[in-house]
Symmetry: C2
Subunit: 461 residues, 2 copies
């Protein structure tokens, strides 16, 4: 009676309700006070997996992790059929009204054709698009010709220790022919895109201190190297005038941009520039002059200061000479750069330029993740292109994303092929205030995943 | 039956109780939520002035001000006698346990020979030393031979608009032969010192912004001049390698250090270096190499970053490329430097070096105050030296303080001579956590003010 495409369309409104239910759970993995929310969401997702017809569903938290993953399995296609592993994450970044939200960050709010909520695009959109596509297949008369595993991570925004340990210890649990990593953004509402490269990440904190405690800046100013000043002097030396990172060795392993890359990425440039004008809106584009915008964002590494604090920053004046100041730094990495090696280069460089008038404490804060470069001719990639064309009615273009999806690297350990399928938009303000999606992207995403499952199944193992 | 010196000694314990009562009132003038506390303290002080025998006492708040001053008067010495104006301030800097306090910041705590509390040294020590000296005189058989005005300011830590307006509009109310500004610190518990120079102050905030809202640092990093980075690049250019300020014109009006200054200040150097080792304890002394420590702290201007903030600074990682970042800056000024002109020079310089890839907003945040240089041979200064010698049993040395007491400049408008009498210690951690005094300094301060009133009275008008 029913095929999965029609089923999804018929149940669209209910799917939207369920998506909003998940959005209301404050799954902020970076903040320990939300551990119960993360656990509640994991249980909610496990229950849903069983409800939609998956054969097994499990909440898994290893001793190494803090936030559980949820693993659902359906093996109804039989041993000879290929297996797809669908990966998404259900944890989100922190969000507070004070950051500039126009609505309550954890109350999904629909205005015209968009839905606003923390996690709307990053990445509960993907969690729900994929689970609802699986539901549509399992509810249909004709069952999928692929076995399906769905793994939902709970600490993508805060280190991924749990899933990394799981892959290391029990790789067979996630083994698949194709891993579909569902996260990130396409170029425009009516222009899907396939990401064939992702940047990696390496993170550290830099703490500078000098006096033993906060001092009166009148009494002692002029005799102490102010830790804020020393910190700014160090940070200001990490880029040259062209926007390039000055850390020795930083670019040693960087794979050069090829003529093929340039040809693919030039197609993306106008979309990205339009998006930049809309979303970024800074006084001017900045960065390495010899690279076009999509290359700066996808094919070149960066060193970014994500946060800085020192001294008194409340209302009014406090004439303090502070004891300490610190900054949070992340580097986005491109293929062949090793996170540990980059961290070491940055640490060595900072130590070499830090003045002796202050004490410097550098704390690598995350294990980091390597960058990924995928084969645009693979079976998985061509199936994904077909899926987008079906759902959007437009062929996708190919791009390299500036974001990091560390799990891609892990997926390569358990799957023959990896493909990234994104249903969000760059204008969706992931990580910022007023994160949002076009509702149509949710519906298109469901259709795309249904098609992807069909195409992979039709080609056999 | 009684003389003021004995009266003060007999009532020492009660005086200490009253001092602690005042310390418990959270007179934080920079924080609007403490306006009621400031008002309550003003009323408390007015009542005390009347109780100790002053003829008039008034709480005064002009439309220009936010926190009232309290003015007490005693004219019993008659029209032909000289008039002393005693100035102190009763407002304090913010303080929170999280800043590193070992006790509740607003609960006075006595340990061995010290008392710990916000405001203990800056400047409720001076408020109470002077009020209790006046009480001792007015309770004594022989009345003072000087008329006495006591003015207590409530917004010294936050701009002094109220008292500045009062001096401008009703200068006769504070008119005196000698103004005694009671604030600041002496060199050591057993080494009083007289400050003949004070630095002025000029303050501003620097705000840098680029994208219209916080962005995902992976998606957009490499194409936007990160406002934190741009801010550090600007701030790092404000000093050269020798610690000198690079702002063009900054030193144009600075009065050079004379041979007399060097001779006086060399006597202070060992005390200051010992204090530096104890209180500052940074890895190394920093600053302009051609000046000795007391010169760097008292005779040379500075540009100090008091606070900086941008992006995400909470627990864990947030890969944000922030929309904005800001810093709070104060300059300490030396004689002849004009606050408005220095602010303009800093503003011009920052505008000239700010990159076009970000937007810069510079907000001068205070009217500022000029530096002061006093005559060490004046009647007021020699009377003060006699008062210290009486109370401490040691002759004072002469120094130039790094702090700013803007009111000195105002006092020069209403008094023939100005003298600064400090009873606190530099090690008292004014503006920092664990602010404290030696109890003996409180008792010595009362004796010194009693003596000062006697000496000035004995010399006539």
């Amino acid at each position: 009676m029913s095929n999965p495409y029609d089923y999804a369309k018929t149940n669209q409104e209910r799917f939207l309700e369920e998506y909003q239910e998940l959005l209301r759970i404050r799954t902020i993995s970076t903040q320990p006070q939300h551990a119960d929310d993360v656990a509640a969401a994991a249980e909610w997702l496990r229950a849903m997996m069983l409800r939609i017809g998956m054969e097994r569903a499990e909440v898994i938290l290893l001793p190494e992790g803090r936030c559980p993953l949820v693993l659902g399995e359906w093996h109804g296609a039989g041993e000879d059929a290929p297996t797809i592993l669908i990966y998404c994450h259900y944890d989100v970044q922190p969000a507070e009204v004070a950051d500039g939200w126009h609505t309550e960050p954890f109350e999904p709010t629909i205005k015209e054709d968009r839905l606003y909520c923390r996690g709307a695009v990053d990445s509960k959109l993907h969690v729900m698009s994929n689970l609802k596509a699986v539901e549509a297949w399992l509810a249909a008369d004709e069952k999928p010709k692929v076995n399906i595993k769905v793994v939902l991570e709970g600490e993508e925004e805060s280190g991924s220790e749990n899933i990394n340990a799981f892959v290391a210890q029990q790789p067979e649990r996630l083994a698949a022919n194709i891993a579909m990593v569902s996260d990130g953004a396409i170029l425009a509402p009516d222009q899907p895109s396939l990401t064939y490269g992702l940047r990696g990440i390496a993170a550290l904190e830099l703490h500078v201190s000098a006096p033993v405690s906060d001092l009166h800046s009148g009494h002692w100013g002029g005799s102490v190297h102010n830790p804020i000043q020393a910190l700014t002097e160090i940070l200001a030396q990490l880029h040259d005038e062209n926007g390039a990172v000055t850390v020795p060795g930083f670019y040693d392993d960087v794979v050069p941009v090829t003529a093929t890359d340039r040809a693919l990425l030039e197609q993306v440039e106008p979309f990205l520039q339009a998006e930049w004008d809309d979303v970024v809106g800074a006084p001017a584009v900045w960065g390495e002059a010899e690279y076009i915008l999509p290359e700066r964002l996808g094919a070149r590494p960066t060193l970014e200061i994500n946060g800085i604090h020192g001294g008194y920053t409340g209302a009014g004046m406090k004439t303090v000479l502070p004891a300490r100041a610190f900054a949070k730094i992340t580097c986005r990495l491109v293929p062949r750069q090793k996170p540990a090696q980059i961290i070491q280069s940055v640490v060595d460089h900072i130590r070499s330029i830090a003045p002796e008038t202050v004490a410097v404490d550098i704390r690598p804060s995350e294990p980091g993740a390597e960058a990924v470069l995928l084969d645009v001719e693979s079976l998985a990639m061509t199936a994904a292109a077909e899926a987008y064309t079906h759902a959007w009615g437009v062929e996708p273009v190919f791009e390299r994303s500036g974001g990091s999806v560390p799990i891609c690297f892990e997926c390569m350990k358990v799957a023959d092929e990896v493909v990234i399928m994104s249903y969000g938009l760059k204008s969706g303000r992931a990580h910022g205030p007023n994160e949002n999606i076009y509702l149509q992207n949710f519906y298109n995403g469901i259709q795309a995943t249904i098609k992807f499952i069909e195409v992979v199944g039709s080609r056999g193992n």
